[in-house]
Amino acid sequence: MRVSRAHEVLTFLAVLCVTSCAESDGATGRGRQQRSLVDKDLVRLDDAGEPILARPEWLSTDAEGRYFVSDRSDKNVKVYGPDGRRALTVGRPGRGPGEFAALLTAQVYGDSMVAYDFEGARLSVFTRHGRFTRAISLSRLPFIPFSVRVVDDSLFLAIAAMPGGERGAALALLRPNGAVVSSFFTLRRYLGTNPQVLQYVGIMADGAHGVVFAGVAGGDSVWAFNYHGKRLGSAPVDPVQPLVTTRRLVEQNGGQARRADGGWVVDGQRSLMQMVALDSASVAMQVSVFSAQFGVDLLDGGTIVVAAVDPGGPMHTIARRDLDGGLLGRSRAGAPLVMRYAGPEQDTYRIAELRLETATGGPRR
């Protein structure tokens, strides 16, 4: 009897340990079942006579159902109510408190909002009403971040502009006071050291629900890590139509990024352009055709690929679809959010949510 009770206690402790470990890794996967990505139109944006949204970079939502869109060109954050009407404009061009010289991203953070200015490596915090409260300097990190993502209420993910050196990590998880929790994602073996390659790649990452996903614009793979930087899995970005890496293109061109005819080896190549961490240890990625002359407008569309981490196993693709519009963020429920032009003039926008549905049209999970 005693042995049986002891066995029960041990079993309970083992289950508790496994559960808590799984929670800390956050790797509660969706399973391998293939899903379809179904559009649900949410709202049409109305700037209400204010300067229009020019270059949307990232989209997030708050508890009141408002939409926060960082505008890289106007250097401010445009806030829209649940009905799509402009409610607020946060920040303005400049170099003072609450101003931005190079606004690269902004995102809802708890009941506040943070916005990252690459010039000065400054993360500014605003109240929900758009009042500037404080700035966090990220200039003392091992690298100057090119972008910062909100992972949850207590963690930010800093993303390097360029791949680090031999031991240089390209990602760092930070506390709100700027303290580094972990740094990881070294790319030297993957990318090599040829500056002709390093100059034409960029790092993409996002994190949520215990998993950080990372990839390279100019790479062919996506990786998943836990918050300690331990690798959970990896997969091709697009297994149906695999991407060609910039490294391979440069190597095929005799080590040079520029072709003999004056063009660029990356011109016209499909490339990873956006990465959004979703719920249940999964990630949505947008692949678009890169133009060396015109760049890429995410809103012109591309292929959306959703990959998921198996608990203790590899990653696998669970959904793929060609899409009109750009993947710009996730809803509070963890679903991908897409923004599209609402008309041929391209001066108005619509926001839609992508739902992952099973083949039978069942629920998402």
Partner: protein, 206 residues
């Protein structure tokens, strides 16, 4: 004494070897190869440099022809752009939208560029939500007798005389003193010379 000197020498050798190895591990640009995409960028302003160039001149026949087709009537703002301006002036889109708002209705915004850059600028303007027509005149040939620096904004009321400003120096990220600020006064002055019927009065010297 000798062992200490020997130890110091060995340590120095190790240090030199380590530094050399560290340097070799850094991705270094090849000699003669461009180090980055902004190699062709204009110089950044130094202490005491004036970053704004004032321009007064006369439009060439080619420019007049192009403008006459695109905006035959009324006041015109000419934005003169070379191919590189789009990439080195990181604040250009915002400045052009602000310029459009400052000018208001009734003032045409034209982008003047060479034929090779026209498609790029048409697409750029669409993406930046700047409503402007593109006029194909090489920036070197916009004014008679002088190649103006760019990016530049010229105000033209009527005739061939224009005045404006250029920002030939590179300002990374943001230029606080924008085109709109700098040409606003002359735009408003021009508006004040309009007659009661709203038609522009003939400016002196045109």
């Amino acid at each position: 004494m000798m062992p200490r000197i020997l130890a110091s020498a060995v340590a120095a050798l190790f240090l030199v070897a380590y530094v050399e190895r560290w340097e070799r591990s850094r991705p270094a640009p090849e000699r003669g190869a461009p180090t980055n995409r902004l190699d062709a960028a204009p110089p950044a302003p130094g202490y005491g440099d004036s970053a704004t160039v004032a321009i007064v001149g006369t439009l060439s026949a080619a420019a007049l022809r192009g403008i006459g087709v695109a905006a035959p009537h009324g006041q015109t703002l000419l934005v003169v752009l070379r191919a590189r301006d789009r990439t080195v002036c990181e604040d250009l889109g915002r400045q052009l939208r602000e310029l459009t708002r400052t000018a208001g209705a009734g003032v045409s915004l034209l982008v003047v560029t060479d034929a090779a850059s026209a498609d790029t600028y048409r697409r750029y303007l669409r993406r930046e939500h700047v409503h402007a027509s593109v006029v194909l005149v090489h920036p070197d040939s916009v004014l008679v007798g002088t190649a103006i620096p760019s990016p530049a904004v010229l105000v033209r009321r009527s005739g061939a005389k224009v005045h404006g400003v250029a920002h030939p120096m590179r300002f990374p990220n943001l230029r606080l003193r924008s085109f709109a600020t700098e040409v606003a006064r002359s735009l408003h002055r021009d508006a004040a010379t309009r007659g009661r019927d709203g038609a522009p009065t003939p400016p002196e010297g045109d």
